[in-house]
């Protein structure tokens, strides 16, 4: 169920900037709109909205959450096959496939190399075919 932005929106563009699938559009200082064809109900817009102007799929207003409390992906490196599906979903470019540790190393895996860019949308967790990614609060 797609999310919805109410009249309380002040057009701060925070949601449009963080939306992991670019589903939110709107000019600055004007009410933003969610593209219902694209929204994946990840809830990131609700967490960043300073005015609590985002309703979730059931019509409940979302509460804003401070950024350090957002969950981040933790990769089970033994399970991960480095197939790269999570990387294709991550628009924030927080994930990548790790580099080999020595010449000829073939055991690579997905890694969170830019944790501060991660928006905690959990698309990587949902789409990992092997269940190798789990979202957790990471204490930096």
């Amino acid at each position: 169920m797609p999310y919805f932005i109410t009249e309380d929106c002040i057009g701060c563009t925070a949601c449009a900037k963080t939306c992991p699938v670019l589903a939110i559009t709107g000019a600055a200082k004007e009410r933003h709109v969610v593209n219902i064809r694209r929204c994946v109900s990840c809830g990131v817009c609700g967490r960043v909205c300073p005015k609590n102007a985002v309703l979730d799929g059931h019509g409940n207003p979302c509460q804003s959450v401070p950024r350090p409390k957002w969950k981040k992906p933790v990769v089970d490196t033994a399970r991960c096959s480095a197939c790269g599906i999570c990387v294709t979903w991550c628009r924030a470019e927080a994930l990548r496939i790790s580099f080999p540790t020595f010449r000829g190393d073939i055991h690579v895996f997905a890694e969170l190399y830019q944790p501060n860019k991660c928006v905690g949308c959990s698309l990587c967790e949902e789409n990992c075919p092997l269940g190798a990614i789990r979202m957790a609060e990471v204490i930096a």
Partner: protein
Amino acid sequence: MKTPTYALIDLNTRASSRYEIPESLYRRYIGGKTLGARLLYDLTPAGVDPLGQDAVVIVNTSPATGTGAPCSSRFNMTFKNVLTGGIASSNCGGQFGVLMKRAGYDGIILKGQSETPCVISIVDGRIEITDADELWGKDTEETQHAFPKIYGKLVIGPAGEHLVRYAAAVSGERVAGRCGAGAVLGAKKIKAIVAYGTKRPEIHDREKFAKYVDKWVRFLRGHPMTGESLPTYGSAGLVSKANATNALPTHNFKYGHFKDAHAVSGETLADKYLLRNSSCISCPIRCERRVEVDGKDVKGPEYETCGFFGPNIDAVSMENMIRLNYLCDSYGMDTISLASTLAFAMELKENGVADFGVSFGNSDNLADIVGKIARREGVYSDLANGSKWMSERYGGKEYAMHSKGLEMASYEPRRSVGMGLGYATSNRGGCHLNGGYLALLESVGVLSMDALSTSAKPAFTAFFQNALEAISAAGFCLFSAQSFVPAVLFKIGPHHPVTRAIGKIATHLGFGVRALLWMMPVLRFNSVFLFPHAEALRLVTGLPFYTGSFVRLGERGYNMERFYNYREGLTKADDSLPDRLTQTPQDPNNPKTVVRLDKMLPVYYRIRGWDKDGTPEKRTLRKLGVQA
């Protein structure tokens, strides 16, 4: 049942509409190249010009594409072959297929011709066609950078714009290379097709599917071929194996052994140039190479490129090869057809027929010439037409290394005669993958059948052609099938008596394989060792796919493609190889080193259920459900 939804795009009017695939077609052809062949047959009349107004191009995916199953990011392009006039299907592992599916379409059918360069964007199920004059003339890398990073792109380069007959379409770092996929898009003036969306593909039994994917990935990663050899050396690792069995085409297929093959092998590539390995989306094998040349991080060459820009033109420079590979991708050209045509031009010069400024042993000036071919400048316009056209113009048909018009891949058929039969009978021309890839059992794999014997080869060729067709149709990479040789044989090695004995026995198992082909409908089992694809397809679609019915799907597709070729006027005479392979022994002292097509073709036709002229018989087509 959810059937695939295609988009029908008319470029004349720039209008698009939804095109639902009927359930009866979906059940029989599933998707990818088999469904593509059926649609192409139904939607085009006989004898259309592949680059003309009436030509149809189908870009489609398969049920498994983008589901997260191993090696399942493939999409397929089906169109009328620019080089052969028969059917063409080009399979690519780029991100376009996955993102087209996320955008809500399983395929697109392109009709008509645009007057001005255009870009088709399929975003969230909406299709828009916009002008792209500013992109026309740019290379594939620049063109892809013009779109958002998260989009899936399928673009052509200058070669496609200039209708080079073997131009390729590029998606990310991967290429739909063969048969002129770039040329047909260029003829329609489509510079790029981009897709983006967030829909997830439908899976019939999600839980069981997830468990099976887990099991399959573990199996692939534990297998010596897919878990060790391919990730370490890539497909280029086959160079030294082929060289050891004299199956590495050298000097335009004149010889089968190159004394400096080590310089262009996968081992040297891994030792000196490799930065890391990479992969298509959702692939645990990771055979793609990332290499460094001139301070740039570029895609490394595959086996075919190593063979053709190395031994086949007598060149030993790995750097030049990597540069040429990069250039071909950025111009959007097929390295196999281009390099084979260049080798033919070199031999023309050697024989004093024509001089294009290229000669054996020198790859330093090729970068310049490749650019001229891509832009069809002056005399190089001839080279852009492929080796069949060249041999008709300049002579030298006996050493123009193509079958039906499509240049052969880098396996020397005189040292793997089954591969020779595959090249000759392959529906899209001299293709190793469409031709059954018997070289893997004869000369480059761990298991070696008698490579010179014609015994059992027709049966094995027919079986593997069907199997590879089915794997492609289901949406998987063919490398995922490289694990079918038991891991234990890799551990004991190719020279162990047991491995040798199995190879020897296999050479005489023709009747066994023929019986197997006949028994297909009753083979109701699935195994992760043989065709894991069948089980994955069963779980994704909910249709009863087992090993037997899965290979039968491939047989149906193969006959459909053959039927299309028959309609377009390709006959038994086109199931041929150049005289160099069928008349001149590779080893002058061993008369057995020729491809005895005359011996194998009649048996092959009989196994396939085709008549003496290679036409599918009515009862065969009825049995397979191709024609009522």
